[in-house]
Symmetry: C2
């Protein structure tokens, strides 16, 4: 998606540790035109699927997931980060490893909100190692539901989490795939 | 707003401790038609204001704030809960008291995203004691910005946080105001 690549180049910045800062337009302040166009592109990419639900993890994927759900006219669900694995039997639980922080965190979602007859579109702002998407896929598996695939705003292609998930059969639509950002120069995958 | 009241009565439930559970349509799973209609109602209510930004606190207000920002065509910003008050000089910091959990938490937002020439609409899913809105108002004050007012999905009128803020001059539009829920029977403020 040209607009996403343009915003990354013009308004993003590269920080040490392969971090691309996009807080001014994507994940702390959200540009409304980019949000609208991103949702449109994602809905078009999955127009062959009968999606019944959009699923993300709090917090920075919620705005995009909500915009996609509004366009599709289906409910949006967000999984919550949880302090401990001690939750009641009414929730699905999974553990996600954060490569950024070097820690594991527990994520939960109510069993009421993902059912076996759902076809779920996963949405997130970033895809790097794929840990968050794998957590969401674990919810789908636990619920016995189907997934239409995953839609991501920015994929860090050089961390190959998306490539591995694609090899395993997951359909992924990324609005921009960063192939490299050596020396602060961002290069996109064509 | 009749639709919000209808959803609360039909799909919400009252739990001990004056908690109204609305996770199935408002703040964990989000109903797309309710979200669209809520954003529409809020935009109409503030149509006399030149809003330049929508501000909320993560996580459960983000979907509504994003929907409002999409309709207005202005950026949406969400303040983040933070583990400590040790943040760099690039962020505004405030402390919000959670009456639900009996603790204080720190909330931050980048100084880049609220400027003195902004007219900010505050958006949140719940208004009870008003602590979260007061935190957001503190950001507005620190930035020297203006506020158009606050838009809230559900106000717990019997906790009077909204009434106090109105007395202090804040314009608040609540889509539903629960006047009482004694014995589990929800009564709305007309």
């Amino acid at each position: 998606m040209q607009l996403m690549e343009k915003m990354i180049v013009e308004k993003g910045s590269v920080l040490p540790g392969d971090i691309v800062k996009v807080g001014s337009f994507l994940n702390q302040q959200i540009d409304p035109e980019l949000l609208r166009a991103s949702a449109e592109e994602i809905v078009n990419a999955f127009s062959d699927c009968l999606i019944t639900k959009v699923l993300t993890i709090e917090s920075s994927g919620i705005a995009l997931a909500a915009a996609v759900a509004l366009r599709l006219g289906v409910p949006m669900v967000f999984a919550k980060k949880h302090k401990s694995a001690n939750v009641d039997g009414e929730t699905y639980v999974t553990v996600v490893h954060s490569y950024t922080h070097g820690t594991d965190y527990t994520v939960i979602v109510s069993k009421d909100y993902i059912k076996s007859d759902d076809t779920v579109l996963l949405v997130d702002d970033f895809l790097a190692n794929g840990a968050a998407l794998r957590g969401l896929l674990d919810f789908i598996r636990q619920a016995g539901a189907k997934t239409a695939g995953a839609a991501v705003a920015i994929e860090k292609g050089f961390q190959h989490g998306g490539d591995k998930l694609r090899e395993e059969g997951l359909r992924i639509e990324s609005l921009a795939i960063i192939e490299s950002m050596d020396g602060g120069a961002i290069r996109f995958r064509p």
